[in-house]
Amino acid sequence: MYRKTFLALAVSVAAALPAFAQEPVKIGLITTLSGPGGYIGQDIRDAFKLAVDMEGGKLGGAPVDLMVEDDALKPGQGKQIAERMLTNDGVKLFTGIVFSNVAGATVPDIVDAGAFYISPNAAPSNMAGKGCNENYFVVSWQNDSLHESAGQLASNLGYKSAFVLAPNYQAGKDAITGFKRYFKGKIVGELYTSLDQTDFSAEMAQIRAANPEVVFQFHPGGLGISFLRQYEQAGLLKTVPMVLAEPSLDAVTLKSIGEAAIGLNVSSHWNSDFDNPANKKFMEAWTKAYNRMPTYYASQAYDAALEIASALKATNGSLADADAFRAALRKADFQSVRGKFSFGPNQHPVQDWYALKVEKGEDGKPVLKTVGEVFKDHGDAYADQCKM
């Protein structure tokens, strides 16, 4: 009797609402979950999941099937996972990659197969200019913007001379180029460290000898922790202020550096204290679900999920019409946790950048506080070269 009623009910519901009896949208989330950079992938996965969970397993009203895989920071592995998801599972929508070298190997395969890639983090310059693609969207930033905003921040703060340091590899050189593009003062010293260096005392002595007004350095992860602590111990933090881009100081590295970080200047496109409804909703849900400080990577993955949700809503959860889905993505019709957000002609963000400062929080632990604006509606240097 009950079963019959239930069956009849189910049939009538299915008949009445055909649009809702649809296949879930498969989303391939390829990210870095192992190794020293594993905490970044963890935040990206957790934030994307959070957005899906907040809608009860849906995005934009469409049920989603989230497939998470670890690329282990190996470009080859990322490429293999993408190929498998494309051919075996028929996935048409991808996101999640943390590192530019993995993205460089994986994203071209995805977009060439006619699938979509929405980047929550990496956005190398070669894919922003001539190598842009109509199925490739970036929700985070173009890589250079991170360091351009730091250069502008140093100029805004009135510093006339800077000493710059970065590891001797591509991303390190890009960082220094980006910084120099917007820093108007004089560069009094430029040093390249080694990626496996642990002791920076020789560099500290040179900084002191050059006596610059400000230091800009890009040392991601553990390198940055060693660098900052030795900078403080050399007594330089009191005499020479420092300006950083957000990858050198996220919520996780801030915790490991401790009080040595107080007083540092950081340029960023998002901070946990942003006063807008979307961010408040995100911070509340995140804290309730995970009980830790989100990194800015988490905010980007959450935005990526909202962006996907906005397009799925517009197409009633269907990817069948790729042109319609793309047009919906381009509108970026969602409330970003960073506030204002739109896409430039190369489908990379045009957004505001902010000045943050590390201050002592209420519980005595250092926190990042937003203190001002650096750029308004900042795009990237490569948008002109993109022909779609």
Partner: protein, 304 residues
Amino acid sequence: MSLFLEQLLNGLQFGVMLFLLAAGLTLIFGIMGVINLAHGSIYMIGAYAGAYVAAQTGSFFLGVPAALVAAALVGAAMEFLVVRRLYKRDHLDQVLATFALILIFNQVVTLLFGRQPLFVSMPSLLDGAVELLPGLTYPIYRLAIILVGLLVALGLYLLINRTRIGMLVRAGSTNREMVRALGVNVGMLYTIVFGLGALLAGLAGVMAGPILAVQVGMGEQILITTFVVVVIGGVGSIRGAFVASLLLGVVDTMLRAYLPSMLRHVMIGSDADALGAGISSMGIYLLMAVVLLIRPKGLFAPNS
């Protein structure tokens, strides 16, 4: 001038840290003939044990004995369980087994402490900098590292040259078979030497805590340089390890400090920086090549 002196101190401090690691490695290699790649893991274990106890108790100085005990215990256990079976095998087996130990230790530490680097606060007693000469201020903590390193070197010198165990160690590094033939309990000697080497690595680890990032894989970063020290100093020679570590520390620091600016006199800025960074990271290996050309067994090889 004060900048030069400061760089010299930096080199000395780096050298002393290298010596603490190299002393154990050279003894293990010289006396037992074992290539122990997992020596860097002991350094990591010392750092983690020290960081954990320091965080729990709030005192860095309680972390130091904890690190020493943890490192020595793990070292002795490693010798007893794994390395003991490798003495008679060839070097390839030793490298494979100790490399496996690196992977195991790294994974265990990841499981216990997670992927995020640990924070070790600077002991307030050693915080800050002191003015040594007018215009030359230097962090107290780094001076303390130099002092501890030199004291350890002195202690090792006395231990090796003035005690019975030291006599056996010296004899063992010169001719292992003869020591065994004379009726010495070689197994006991091996465990003591291994434990001592591990203890020194643990000391280096805990002292590195407040200046470096305590993280998984920190031992591998410094292991290669340590091997270079052992090779330059002569395998099995503590004196060689001491001279070679200080030499290497100073050469590495000086190259990083002065090479780019010297090259700027002969070429344009960005090229000079790139070339200078490249050559200075090769510097210690070039030094090793030169030493090996002149003295193929190292500077102070015991049986040369």
